[in-house]
Amino acid sequence: MLKKHELVFILSFLTPTLALFGIFTLYPYFNGLKMSFYEWSGFSDVTTFVGLDNFKRMLDDDIIPMTLKHNLYIMLAVPIFSFIFALFNAVAISQFKLKESKWYRALLFVPYVLPVTITAILWQNMLGGDYGLVTSILGWFGIHLDYPLLGNPDTALWALCVPMIWSVVGFYMVLYLTAINNIDESLMEAASIDGASQWDKVRYITIPLIWETIRVTLVLFILGAFNYSFALPWIMTDGGPARSTEFIATYMYRVAQNDHEYGYATAIGVFIFIIATGLSLLSQILTRKSKLD
């Protein structure tokens, strides 16, 4: 049983955090949930209660499944490629003990700290149809495009994945590298003596021993894919061409800002919240692994 002064002491430290959490996190969540049952222009306090109409409307809105498909696409493509590249780089840098490893580390990490606007504009120019570096390189190999990569619905989504992967690989690489460096050197030596190949060491030692880190990064990958599905497409393609890079978040923003339908946009926001929470839980469950022997 806590004494009164201890309770006051504890509360005095907890209150600011709880108050800030309540004001800036919980209140917006609950207010958002409330607004999703209203029709609201976002310009005044004039609101009309519409019950579940906004959610019903989502069922009939054929843009929503389309955007979810795009989200799913990057949620698979970006994590898979980011994971492969990040792990490959981390293993390469740590196991081959390259002289220039510090340089590679720094170089690969830079894209992660670049502001997303700069990444977007940089890649917009790299992928540009007229003078883009990527288009020119494709040209050297005899691949001449009818439409620019970002200006063609068949290629725009793929093209958007490139900067998404490019900007996160360095971050995950550093996480994996730290985890790998914590692996006991003797395990690797023992494996080498037993005749294990590099691949065997990665498969049977590195990956199992850094599994906890990988597990955390999988959640980050998925949530990151949600985050990246706003700023980059907004700047690089504006959701186009012909909605081929419209994501659920860009659509929500468009509904709020262009159509002035904040109630409906908030309902979409609630839906995004549910999906993100569900995915995060799912990824935790799927990656749960019994303790290593």
């Binding site: 976002g42 005044s44 439409y147 619905p153 186009g240 468009r254």
Partner: protein, 465 residues
């Protein structure tokens, strides 16, 4: 002793935390106020004095103005002039390129400025604000006398202004025009002159010129370019062609979201003016990922003959224009007619000034609106912004102060007798036309026909009405 110290400390900590939270939650109106403008210049030479108006005005107003392409110099100066003309009054000026982001939560919280001047292309829709009772009806202002004896404000404004959908909302005057912009087709006048081509007046002539152009330039220049990443720029073609093929009434029916209006065959004809550009390979290659600045720079570099654009062109590209290898000569044409001698249209829009219904000092705010519309200040506006106000005789009044391309545009509109149509649609139609922007790209990619795009717009319209 130790317990007492701990107790005192913890109590102090709790009190401090609560006080800080309470003060953070309290009214922060003072913090939201814009910083006051610098003191008025006593040497201001405004010809209007309070004695002229016979009014005793005092107090403060807050003017919130969008800091966009026209800069903020005008606002800083006009505020000084106003304060000098009305001693004892004070204008707090708030300017920001993100004005709507600042004002929107303030409107929701009931903390209004006295005057709002343009929040960047309808980011805050005046019609919604008016219908939700947020804006004052300015009918009394437009019916009142100008401050310099030019009759009423209504008398000096261009006649179509007060019927414009974002100004006249359900019979009430929701806003006054800050300036007028015209949109239509801009062309490279040098290429036209060099070849001795005449400016097309009908869509048939336009596409015939396309064939001639292609025969001459093949792939070295394009007949048409546009701001491909933002296909809504093609609304200029679409709306102009809608008015041409459906007639002014038909366009009005579409604009006001009348049932069945969007399903008429004339809508397909209008879309075909875009489809023909794609079908006849008249559009510049590699434009679907181009931003407006990239596409417009191509046009200024002489890589294409035409582009859909507006009277902000010269001002928007003022950094690019001096760097061009050759001086660029702008040409403007209203949208082509459906048939020879048929009516022609230009798309027009006004940036707006309005007054919230709960402005703190409405009398002074209304006086500020009148003050901005004296002949001297109309001129002053053009001098500081290069934009033009929609008042009678504006070109004569400010002719030398506005860019050549704007003067030329206004002259062409007058010569051709083109009618101004608004591109402000009813909210319901606005949502449906999101499909049109997608459709334009699909037409350009030759993935959809005009008929299919019309069907998609109609489907969207019917599902959201």
């Amino acid at each position: 002793m130790k317990t007492k110290v701990v107790r005192a400390f913890t109590m102090l900590a709790v009190v401090a935390v609560f006080v800080s939270i309470l003060s953070a939650c309290g009214s922060n109106k003072g913090n939201n106020e814009a910083s006051p403008s610098t003191s008025a210049s006593p040497s201001s030479s405004s010809s209007v004095t309070p004695e002229d108006t016979g009014k005793k005005l005092e107090g403060e107003i807050e003017v919130a103005a969008f800091a966009g392409g026209f800069g903020t110099a005008y606002w800083e100066e006009i505020v000084k002039k106003f304060e000098a003309t009305y001693p004892g009054t004070k204008v707090n000026l708030l300017t920001s390129p993100k004005l709507s982001d600042i004002l929107q939560p303030r409107f929701v919280a009931g903390d209004y400025p006295d005057i709002v001047a343009n929040t960047n292309n309808g980011k805050m829709d005046v019609r919604i604000l008016m219908r939700e009772g947020q804006l004052a009806d300015l009918s009394d202002v437009v019916n009142s006398d100008t401050l310099d004896g030019q009759g009423t404000l209504k008398d000096i404004l261009n006649p179509e202004v007060l019927n414009y959908p974002t100004i006249n909302v359900d019979g009430k005057i929701a806003a006054l025009p800050l300036n007028v912009t015209y949109q239509g087709i801009y062309y490279n006048a040098t290429i036209m002159k060099e070849n001795g081509w005449s400016v097309p007046t009908t869509w048939d002539e336009f596409f015939k010129l396309g064939e001639t152009f292609k025969a001459k330039y093949a792939d070295s220049k394009a007949f048409w370019t546009y701001q491909g990443m933002y296909p809504d720029y093609m609304h200029i073609n679409f709306y102009g062609a809608l008015a041409a093929y459906c007639g002014a009434d038909g366009y009005e029916a579409i604009k006001t979201a009348q049932d069945g209006a969007i399903e008429k065959p004339c809508v397909v004809q209008a879309l075909q003016t875009i489809e023909n550009l794609a079908k006849n390979d008249l559009v510049m290659k590699n434009i679907l990922d181009k931003t407006e600045v990239q596409a417009q720079t191509d046009f200024l570099l002489g890589k294409s003959l035409f582009i859909p654009w507006g009277t902000w062109a010269e001002s928007e590209m003022k950094d690019v224009l001096p760097t061009l290898p050759n001086k660029f000569e702008f040409g403007f044409m209203p949208m082509p007619a459906a048939e020879a001698g048929g009516p022609r249209y230009v798309i027009g829009d006004y940036e707006l000034m309005y007054m919230p219904a709960k402005a703190k000092n409405p009398e002074l705010a209304k006086e500020f609106l009148r003050f901005c519309l004296t002949q001297e200040n109309i001129k002053f506006y053009s001098e500081k912004t290069t934009a033009i106000k929609p008042v009678k005789g504006a070109v004569e009044l400010v002719g030398s102060l506005i860019p050549q391309s704007v003067q030329n545009t206004i002259d062409v509109i007058e010569q051709t007798g083109a009618t101004l149509i608004s591109d402000r649609l009813d909210a319901k139609m606005n949502g449906a036309l999101g499909e049109a922007w997608t459709g334009f790209t699909e037409i350009m990619l030759k993935k959809k026909t005009s008929e299919e795009v019309q069907a998609a717009i109609a489907k969207k319209f019917n599902s959201t009405k």
